[in-house]
Amino acid sequence: MIIQSLCRYYDILKDDPAVEISEYGSSNAKVSFVFVLSPEGELNNIVALGSDDARLRFQLMDVPMQESRSGKNPPPYFLCDNAKYVLGVEWLKKADFQKKYPSAANGENPSGCTVLEENEKGTLLVHGPSEDRFQAFKGLHHEILDGTNIPAVASLLTFLDAWNPETALDHPKIQDYKDDIFTGGNVIFECEGAYLHKIPAIRALWESHYARESAKDEQISQCLVTGNAEPVARLHQKIKGVTGAQSSGASLVSFNADAFESYGKGQSYNSPVGTLSMFKYTTTLNHMLASERNRIRIGDSTVVYWAETSNSSCEDLAGFFFNPPKGKENENGITEGEDDSRIRDAKTIRQMGDILNKVRRGRHLNRDDLGTDADTKFFILGLAPNNARLAVRFWYVDIFGEFIEKIARHYLDMEIIRDDFGSPFVTPYQLLKETSPKSADRKEASPILGGLLMRSILNGTGYPVQMYSAILSRVKVERSINYARAGFIKAYLLRQSRSGSSPLKEELISVKLNEENPDVPYRLGRLFAVLEKVQSETNKNMGSTITSKYFSSASTTPAVVYPVLLKLAQHHIAKSDWGFKTTQSIEEILSGVDAFPEYLTLEEQGMFMLGYYHQRKANYSKKNEKAVEEE
């Protein structure tokens, strides 16, 4: 299912000339430097790639396959590797250096290594391991390239043969870049205006070498993707770009402890995936994680989505639905998403509006609405890191039209009266942030919620009760409710009543204030907003208000609090200019309430919040003044 679909998508991407994706036998790598070699094998020049921006000192390039490296003697890569391999020089942080060579701490020159340079941060040295790596790198290139008469090859081999790691810093060019070159960035080679790894003849040599190598120690077994008997990958390539995972990448398929293996099989032989399929799925996934267009973040999961077509309009539209463009500056206490740079696309916003309207009227979406075939298969994969492994948080497959309909339904359910400013849509990412305390250092929602929320949105089922109670308790603790929270409470109650699991009637859960609504908790919520207003009108500058003192208990145990509140209110009313009107509206609101309930259930508390929110909005909009939100 997941791997299979990724493999199919790889085939689509590969046939699409607009998309750059690695071919079999190659992979993407971050390349920082180009070594320009003369035909005689001299290192003429070093070119730093990437922009001057301090963060980006590399360029992503398609280079000969770099499989994940681990263990004591990791293998070198072909034509693209870091300084440890290419130059045989290693840079160690001070602490690491002293750990390795304890005698160096006493100021002695440790045996077994040659220190090229030392400063307060670390040490540049040539020692056993780095020399071994350089030799391995040299050996690999001799193995693959010996016996050919390509001029560039001769120049590279001459360079490698003549290179002496211990004199690395004598080279003027290396001296220039010494601060960056030894910290792990990859190096590629250029000779006579062409990158060596791009020269077709060299590529052909590499491909045959790679095919030979990968066939060598492989087992033949039935591949669970294609169903054919083929060589099975022992290790899978790492997936890079999942938020929170190790920067070197994490594995989706891996078996890194005994307990994960069964039937006496080692490593990934536990799950026979053909080498080609393994390459396809990892490459596709890395490709999508690297591109802005197929990736979003929800909670702690990184989500990729794709449609099984080369037409990118599906993904663009889906991107807008996941991460709707923002309206004006948002002051409603909703934390901004991270993607503020998104350019507003008026056409897509209009398209979204049209789609929402159609769904509201219960009509089916057709080709014109979506700008693409509604029957295209659409996939969403939510990944979250767990140590060095990736876990699948959720997985969703549906046709595109159905997907858009589900997500539009979610936004419709969330719809609630709000201020004129602020975005009309709350992204799932923002919604999740509403469940965590504003003051918390790490504003992360519980890891489980992201998956649950997405699942209910995508399946159109009831929202997770965990999320609902988290939002309720945030409202109670912070005594403030914004439209994201109110919207979610409304949407939750709406889906509850639609599914019949709550006695509330669907039509009572409205977008804006409904004065006819006889629901007792709803009325009590409204009453609270009225009482709060009369208090703030009477006393402008108060340290503690009824909101700060009674909000939480009023929403849970009204019978205890309301008599007190009403008595207090009498004092305020007596002082207020609008006392008569307030008494009237209190009477009106309480007309359907026979007794204050002892306590309110979670659903009733939601209704209370909703009533409070609606009434507040109504209080302030009637007087036509900008709502002063929050304390």
């Binding site: 039935q222 669970l224 307990a259 799950s271 026979p272 767990n386 876990a391 997985w395």
Partner: protein, 217 residues
């Protein structure tokens, strides 16, 4: 045989560490359930059809599991009388693993058994059939059957007569391709995994048809 339960996890081999379940029960899981109820060396269960009665729903949970196994060599030396400790301390060895599992599953298993080489002169198919039937009707089992993981117990009941209709009957043209799915492990051949192309028609996976369609090595 009707089997149902709250949770199920038929782990995909490719996502077996951070578990992800298959969409439906695998034939080998169905075999496991039947073997929990009745099995003798003389018979081997073959699954004919799996009916998927409930809609396929996923849920994610996290569980504490352990990181290591008791090495087989330790067990061997213990058998020879060596002094080794044969235990795992889950407190020292804990690893939290996420799983994407199935919720509210309900299947019907159609199966038959074949006599094996082990069958002696007393082993007649009629005898085993009647024992199995009696045990299923009474709800007896050797160990409690489970859906993929021990934590997810199976409720079972013998279905006499009509098999209940599936949620998927008549939906989406009635056909659903579930991709390659584990059929079983070939214990005779180096424990090689065997996969088959699972194709669900009206909620029914007809294994004979799927196997004939190809894909088994």
């Amino acid at each position: 045989m009707k089997v149902w339960g709250d949770y199920a996890c038929f782990t995909r081999p490719e996502m077996k560490v951070e578990r992800v379940s298959y969409d439906v029960m695998t034939p080998s899981a169905a075999r496991g359930i039947l073997e929990a109820i009745y099995w003798k060396p003389a018979i081997s269960w073959k699954i004919d059809r799996i009916h998927v009665l409930n809609p396929i729903k996923f849920d994610n949970i996290r569980r504490n599991e352990v990181n290591s196994k008791i090495p087989a060599s330790n067990v061997k030396s213990a058998l020879k009388g060596g002094e080794v400790s044969l235990h795992l301390d889950p407190n020292d060895d804990r690893v939290q693993r996420a799983s994407l599992v199935l919720r509210d599953v309900c299947y019907c298993i159609e199966a038959h058994f074949e006599m094996t080489k082990e069958a002696g002169p007393d082993d007649t198919p009629e005898k085993h059939y009647n024992v199995a039937l009696r045990r299923m009707r009474k709800g007896q089992c050797f160990h409690h059957p489970y859906f993929g993981c021990r934590e997810f117990p199976v409720n079972f009941e013998f279905v006499e007569g009509e098999i209940p209709g599936s949620y998927y009957t008549g939906k989406n043209g009635g056909e659903k391709d579930l991709g390659f799915m584990l059929y079983d492990i070939d214990f005779a051949d180096d424990m090689k995994a065997i996969f088959f192309r699972a194709n669900m028609v009206d909620g029914v996976i007809d294994l004979e048809r799927c196997l004939a369609y190809g894909g088994v090595s």
